[in-house]
């Protein structure tokens, strides 16, 4: 993770992807779609109730070359932050 909790809490994402309720691989596919809608350097935020999404998105970010910024816990779901790098 490359952002502190404070940085994540004050970060404004260019796109919020609400994948709450979706089972694997739904959040990943929604993240992929969402990433295609923002410019390089922008941040997307994925909301997911699936507890493995945060590690899955982290692995996916490394694989495809995006920057995994970190995770915030919200009320019953995770907020996962990724910066588009290419």
């Amino acid at each position: 993770m490359t952002a502190t909790m404070t940085e994540l809490e004050t970060m404004t994402a260019a796109k919020v992807v609400d994948a709450r309720g979706a089972a694997c691989p739904g959040p990943l596919l929604e993240a992929k779609k969402g990433m295609g809608t923002v410019s390089v350097g922008s941040v997307i935020e994925i909301w997911s109730t699936d507890p493995v999404t945060k590690t899955d998105i982290g692995a996916w970010s490394t694989k495809v070359g995006h920057e995994f910024l970190g995770v915030l816990e919200a009320d019953g779901y995770d907020r996962v932050f990724v910066r588009r790098q290419k």
Binding site: A23, C24, L28, V64
Partner: protein
Amino acid sequence: MSDPEKLVFMVLHGPGHPEHATIPFVMACAALASDVQVVMGFQADGVELVRTGIAETIEAPGFPPLKKLLDDYRELGGTLLVCGPCLNSRGLKAPGDLVAGAEVVAAGRFVAEITSATNSLVY
């Protein structure tokens, strides 16, 4: 520039095994989302999964419905290859009995896809 990564998923289980039928689609969609080329090959009872109307009937607990995964897979650009002899032995005809995008092939095509892949997995 190196060749792109490619995975082949050989699917041999049909509607009688919803989890075995669903997981290769999950993996294939994740691979496509990760910029990996994907070929799905259907043999034996696996050919039933690409029969028109069958995906709509399959939903393994904990996973998205198979129809959603099939739609996502095709939208992401995945390839569907179906064993011709396996269709013949079941009295199925292409293209009428198969979902859109399914291509009927024989052993030589499967061998070519598998030998040119980064890795192959059998379900």
